[in-house]
Amino acid sequence: MSAYDLLIAPFADYGFMRRALVACLCLALGSGPIGVFLMLRRMSLMGDAMSHAVLPGAAIGYLVAGSLSLTAMGIGGLVAGLSVALLSGIVSRATVLQEDASFASFYLTSLALGVLIVSLRGSNIDLLHVLFGTILAIDGPALFLIGGITSVTLVTLAIVYRPLVAECFDPGFLRTVGGRGPVYHALFLLLVVLNMVASFQALGTLMAVGLMMLPAAVAQLWGRSLTAMIVIAAGTAAVSGYVGLVASYHLELASGPTIIMTAAVIYGLSILFSPSGFARRLFPSPHLKG
């Protein structure tokens, strides 16, 4: 088997593989940076919760459209995700519950409701698709939606970069200079939900954050500056998407989980070999003079 057969042929021969690859690269560009900010805000698990919160909306969209239409499910997911984010924000402000606790309550409710709605009408196959995604079934319109979300994400991040960094790094300072911290926080949550919806069809609700958090963790292990972290995260996600697709094609594995497993392998290697990793601890380099 030549290198061409191994690395390029799957995409040259099959349209669905090409679309899956483009979708993966789009997701990588959008989700990578979002994941880095989520992690720096110590909201890694919040992202996971959010991805479950998207489910009932997507399920209702699926029931209304009567098929796995990404547009209908995307709109439903967007509404559901934002409602959960908003409601838990309100609850944590109005009661003694911290935001993570109220988030957990809402997303569990959401997840249960979502699975219930899907099982009401759909088959188990549909449920599997909703939970784990069908990246090889991405069609033209779905690709446009994903690409659109990535574009919106990158442009918005570029515009609000400084206030968002200030809000993550030193919210007190942003308050004293009259910056509207909560506005940027809300805008950021909106981007998170949008990216969940984008990765929804590709990876399903259960793994939608996979291309967000694993690359972000890899980025934190290697990167020293925020810029470097964002580039590393996007790069790791893109490589995971490509390698995962190739591997799943040749080994006849399910694509979504293979992509996430690829990211997980990169994460594992990073834990071993990154500057703060185990290898450095086992074989320390001599310290410097000053």
Binding site: L40, I159, V160, R162, P163, V165, A166, C168, F169, D170, P171, G172, F173, R175, T176, V177, G178, G179, G223, R224, S225, L226, A228, M229
Partner: protein
């Protein structure tokens, strides 16, 4: 008598219990004032009230300043010290008044940031990530940011806690420089010797205003004892405070 910031019978409460109780007086424009008092005296609370982070339960705060006239260094800044940001970018946040959330930092801002870093003794640290700095170095960075902020009123809440003598001296020089430039500086301090040496005016606070005026008069043994006697009481059964105590001390204010 150039009152810049007037406290008019100011009371700030936590859960209805007063932390700052019927305080009246004013900060002169260009004054350098220390706020001293025992733990729980309401010093930080007063700072937060001035910054508008806490609302007065009673009384008023009067001034004609806008938000960007204030520079504030809180006591326990909720700063994420492990955030991957460089010293230079941290200091450049101080230019917010000019750049806003979206404007670009030009050559002028970069030159100013480099100059302020040199002024706090951190020349050459521009590219260092803040995670690699010591507590003292980081405090110097925050002072550099305040320098760049170019604020009219500067509030410092225990700026020298856990800072070594040399850094404290360097930062006190910056405070003196601000004073020389006609800025109004208000600092919460614990070291009474520092207060006596470096601050012409003092507000001695023990929830109520014990004394407010020239440091030498305020920091008398009698006043200090009085402040110490006002223990941190939080009386669960406290009744409702009927009216301001008749002639509370102040530095000669407004009715």
């Amino acid at each position: 008598m150039n009152a810049l910031l007037t406290l008019d019978n100011l009371t700030v409460t936590y859960d209805r219990h007063p932390a700052v109780h019927h305080v009246s007086g004013f900060f002169r424009a260009g004054s350098l004032t220390a706020i001293a008092g025992p733990n729980g005296a309401g010093k930080s609370t007063l700072m937060k009230a001035i910054m508008g982070e806490l609302r007065p339960a009673e009384g008023r705060l009067q001034h004609h300043l806008v938000r960007s006239d204030f520079g504030y260094l809180p006591q326990a800044a909720d700063i994420n010290r492990r955030f991957p940001i460089s010293v230079l970018d941290t200091v450049l946040l101080g230019a917010w008044r000019h750049t806003g959330a979206f404007g670009a930092n030009g050559a002028k801002e970069h030159a100013q940031a480099a100059a302020t870093l040199a002024a706090v003794g951190l020349g050459g640290f521009e590219r260092r990530p803040i995670g690699s700095l010591s507590a003292g170095q980081f405090q110097r960075v925050l002072f550099a940011r305040l320098l760049l902020q170019d604020a009219k009123v500067i509030l410092l809440d225990e700026p020298f806690t856990a800072i070594d003598a040399r850094t404290t001296q360097d930062l006190l020089d910056i405070v003196a420089q601000w004073h020389g430039e006609g800025r109004t500086v208000i600092a919460v301090l614990h070291d009474l010797e520092q207060v006596r040496t470096h601050f012409p005016e003092t507000l001695l606070l023990a929830r109520e205003c014990i004394a407010w005026g020239p440091t030498a008069e305020v920091m008398s043994a009698g006043n200090l004892l009085k402040a110490r006697m006002m223990a941190e009481r939080w009386d669960d059964g406290a009744g409702i405070c009927e009216s301001p105590s008749g002639k509370a001390p102040s530095n000669g204010v407004v009715a």
